[in-house]
Symmetry: C2
Subunit: 431 residues, 2 copies
């Protein structure tokens, strides 16, 4: 058994620097926990001369990945460089050289997670990725541990800080989307190109990772039905609040028997649901397990310190496994064949807002459109918009199938009494 475990680091940005700092500052505690010492042996960087936020010996830096990946002394590779193609190539290379890997790379794990985990298993190596989803929340570990003695039936997550920040501001201040997005960009909570966040792609990647693990099926990114928040209006949020709901971008994954659904979209949840209070840039994941029931994990979704802390936790787990000689057993590969529900099997309540001609018979016509689709109403209000000769109808339905909702939207749009279907949202957390 080795007396010292060597780490090779790919990348030395804020997260990588945080990892170096924590490993150095907690040497004693790490040695205490795992029974041997730990050193950072080599760090891959793009530029040897760049000024760093941390003090690190020049000899530790390299621009040649093979100095880490082919070094027989390196036991664990920590990938914090980001990007997809190079990161994937390096990780595969490391695993084939029997090195354990810890990564914070969500995009990579969403796209190539199953392949990477399979190669890890083939090489009896660990591949840990706690930091890839909601850095400050130990959700991956909780799902893996939970799986040992429970079965997950539902996952609901607020897993994108940018959109949660925007929706919180819109809700609290009644301001329009564009305005709040601009502020979020100025504050650094949104990228200058915010597409991946606001269109739900980032959340979809995280839900791919979580649902794959939770259901033990090979869920892929294209299995996730995705809708972003860019069309959400301050009026929608106001009417939703009137009916008792908060607007959130929710990642939703549910198993019924052995068939699953995974989606990401702007969703209404009851004010009293624990997810409704998750505000600003915070993240939370709600897990329903057969034995344990409902649990929720809440915390910061990003940030260099929480992310680096998650990576060090993974490192400790890898190193404990090394000393136990049980590496390569914790990478849980999908155990069940993936079966996706179709639109007739997915049921939920919905919120609708649309305008109709303010004339006799309009309301009756609308009612019959919904009835024909087997959708009934739970709550409804009608507001005259006198000067336009229109009325606005806002309603909440009872449960119906996704197929029924799609049909009624088509029917509404085709109807001559309907002026405009302004918005339509899924309601979750009451099923």
């Amino acid at each position: 058994m080795k007396n010292c475990i060597s780490i090779g680091l790919l990348g030395l940005g804020t997260v990588g620097s945080g990892v170096v700092k924590i490993v150095e500052a907690h040497q004693d505690r790490l040695a205490h926990q795992i029974g041997c010492s730990v050193e950072v042996k080599k760090v891959l960087v793009k530029n040897l001369e760049k000024e760093r936020a941390i003090t690190i010996h020049k000899d530790l830096l390299t621009t040649d990945a093979t100095e880490i990946l082919d070094d027989a002394d390196v036991d664990v590779v920590v990938e914090v460089m980001g990007g997809i193609e190079d990161a994937r190539r390096y990780i595969l290379h490391a695993l084939r050289n029997k090195k354990h890997v810890v990564t914070a790379n969500k995009d990579l794990m969403a796209l190539y997670g199953t392949e990477l985990l399979r190669v890890a298993n083939e090489n009896k190596c660990d591949l840990f990725y706690e930091a890839s989803v909601a850095g400050g929340i130990p959700i991956i570990r909780s799902l893996v541990d939970g799986l040992a003695a429970d079965r997950v039936t539902k996952l609901m997550g607020i897993v994108n800080g940018t959109t949660n920040f925007i929706l919180t501001k819109m809700s609290n201040e009644g301001r329009p989307y564009e305005d709040v997005l601009k502020e979020a960009q100025e504050l650094g909570f949104a990228e200058s190109d915010p597409t991946s966040d606001v269109e739900g792609l980032d959340a979809a990647r995280k839900m791919t990772i979580l649902s794959k693990l939770g259901f033990s099926m090979d869920v892929e990114l294209e299995d996730v039905q995705v809708r972003g928040i860019s069309s959400v209006s301050a009026e929608d949020i106001d009417y939703a609040r009137y009916f008792g709901y908060t607007m959130k971008l929710i990642g939703y994954a549910k198993r019924s028997e052995n068939r699953i659904e995974v989606s990401v979209g702007p969703t209404l949840i009851s004010h009293s649901h624990p997810l409704a209070s998750v505000s600003n840039e915070f993240n939370a994941v709600y897990v329903y397990g057969e034995a344990v029931g409902e649990t929720m994990f809440y915390g910061p979704g990003a940030g260099s310190l929480p992310t680096a802390t998650a990576i060090v936790s993974d490192l400790v787990a890898v190193m404990k496994n090394m000393r136990l000689g049980v590496n390569g057993t914790s990478a849980v590969l999908p155990q069940y064949p993936k079966e996706l529900k179709d639109d007739h099997e997915i049921h939920f309540k919905s919120f609708f807002r649309f305008t109709v001609q303010d004339q006799l018979g309009s309301f009756a016509k609308i009612t019959s459109l919904f009835t024909e689709c087997d959708i009934s109403f739970e709550k409804i209000i009608q507001v005259p918009l006198k000067h336009q000769g229109l009325a606005e109808i806002i309603l909440v339905t009872h449960q119906a199938s996704s197929a029924a909702f799609k049909k009624v939207i088509r029917d509404l749009e085709a109807s001559d009494v309907v002026d405009e279907v302004r918005s339509y949202y899924r309601i979750a957390g009451e099923e």
Copy 2:
């Protein structure tokens, strides 16, 4: 290294039976995780003939604890018998015989935790107790793991399901305390003698355990300032809601520099605080760490399945440590001297409700009483109670010291314009 790890179980109630069931059902997975097999070798029961919910071989049962505690083959003792004196004696006996211990015993850990952990360390044994606080929430492990790379500054917990159930019902249905308590007893959510729950003692025991761990100081039960919920009225809850607050029994522990405060009491928290949505019998613990920031763990506080699941997680950790040869290092003994804040160092906002003589000058007199104690108002309403010649004043203060609040209550009670101080609550979560 042994090929099989043997467990001795003290107690075979619902939790103990759950442990046996999970260990049997998950043999393969446990072997996979720890690299060797696991067996339940002996179970201490009171009555050998009693009908059991599970099928278990008669030969495994014993009424003699020494058959477990003195059996050199037993590696780990799981204590799920409850009570204090016998449990303490057996656990000390087990530790001195170099057996690792997993316990679900909150009362024991609150009273004798430091002693037991010290003896565990002296004997290089593990003593794990995840199931003792909020069975369905991995909070002990999160605090221990978190401590490796972070420093806890504040803990807020809803750690008693009975009182949370009662307060939730009172809030939602506007019903009085006695009425809801009776229903809770009928539903099995409250004991026939509910004192330990409703007077805050159960929550205080859990906060003793959590704050000892979080602050790494030897916090004792008598350090916790405790107040129960039996005097909370439906009117208090209504007025609090009007001001934007939800009433919860909150365990509150805070460190400022190296001095700490720990309390349990009915507390108002903002509707938007994540703890405000923790309803019914659910528990949650909010943790503030210097590096990670705010995290919250939410889940069922009790129940035989969640508790048994937590015990099995602890068992896996013990068994991994056995194979690593690092037992006895994870029991974190208090590292810092305990320093308790005095009343002048504890600051918070408060809610007051009291009646005054409805006459000229009353309000000015009240204002000057508060001003003299250096307490200023944030919000105030006055409601005339005409037929009694009284007015009710309900107010929320700015931050002031606990000493100031104690003084102003004495002054109010002594004042001739005050009829009755009806209620007084701490406000938390905004500091």
